[in-house]
Amino acid sequence: MITGSQKPIQEIADLVAPYDRVLILGCGTCVKTCFAGGEDEVAVLASALRLYFKRTHKELAIDELTIERQCENEFIQEAAAKAGQNDAILSLACGAGVQALAKRFAKSPVLPGVNTTFIGIQASPGVFTEECSGCGNCGLAVFGGICPLTRCAKKLLNGPCGGSQQGKCEIDENTDCAWHLIIDRLTLLGQMDNLNVYIPPKNWATSLSGGPRKLIREDHII
């Protein structure tokens, strides 16, 4: 899932302040799961902003709606009516959703209410961790299912570095050393030979470094 956190409320208030009628649009998929922009979060943010603007004597009408996903037109079009009724849309979706709305509702200013961060998992209730950086050529089979490009702070392919101590990364005592995890896992799997092989430099052309990517599936295009 894509993880994000709601922007500080003061920043959001400053973003919407120039408008008279704002639609807060939530998303029911990734951002709902990480408690940043689902239906509940839309309601809480709307209430908080109403209180803020009442206190600061500003007339601002706040509308609320949550759709299943903001990355597909099928769902985005459900927001068309409300989009037309408001001066601006504050989207609580990830950056992709914000941009999809902007494409679809070209005449409405679309404002981001969430800081999109990473592709990750819910490791335990309320705790989310970054796992994948979308390199475009997955080598997880070699590394026992732990990604060194994402979870190693230095993206080492032939790790660990000299800063790994007691299983923790030098950058933060709360961050596991990915290479320590990889070694433990491969040991458990009896696959430590994977690490005796020299791993050559990564071809980054398939990642964002090679330019923004596009996926086209002809078999699904009519």
């Binding site: 003061q10 208030a13 509940d40 209430s47 908080a48 902003l49 109403r50 803020y52 009442k54």
Partner: protein
């Protein structure tokens, strides 16, 4: 200005086992009492809407954590109250307006004391700033 004659509005959320509703305890304020089947029904949106509806202070009463009949209700309520307090601070409403207490249904003296403390706090921080202005 008629505000001086106005009684402060307090909304009180409580789980069934933490409070026995006794009107006499609420002298000096306009009380709005909301009963919950379990303290885990304490949701961020309800607390904020209470302020939108004009509450000057919101009190949440739950059982002591070890005594919570549904195991985690009190813990969840506390976490959410703490979260909403930070929202209140961030929007300039003052998180002090919202507080959670561990009480027992049999102990009405404790609740009387809580109301008293809350009213004193309101004297210090003022009434709800999102409603007390004049067009």
């Amino acid at each position: 200005m008629s505000d001086n004659a106005q009684k402060p509005k307090i909304t009180l959320f409580h789980c069934l086992n933490s409070f026995c509703e006794t009107p006499a305890l609420f002298e000096g304020c306009d009380a709005n009492i909301v009963k919950m089947a379990c303290s885990s029904m304490t949701r961020d949106i309800f607390l904020l809407r209470a302020f939108e509806a004009g509450a000057d202070a919101v009190i949440v009463l739950v059982c002591k954590e070890e005594a919570c009949r549904y195991a985690e209700g009190s813990i969840r309520a506390k976490k959410r109250v703490d979260y909403v307090k930070t929202i209140l601070d961030d929007i300039g409403m003052d998180g002090e307006r919202l507080a959670i207490f561990n009480t027992k249904a049999t102990d009405s003296d404790a609740v009387r004391e809580i109301i008293h403390t809350t009213l004193k706090k309101l004297d210090a921080i003022g009434l709800n700033p999102a409603v007390n202005y004049y067009n």
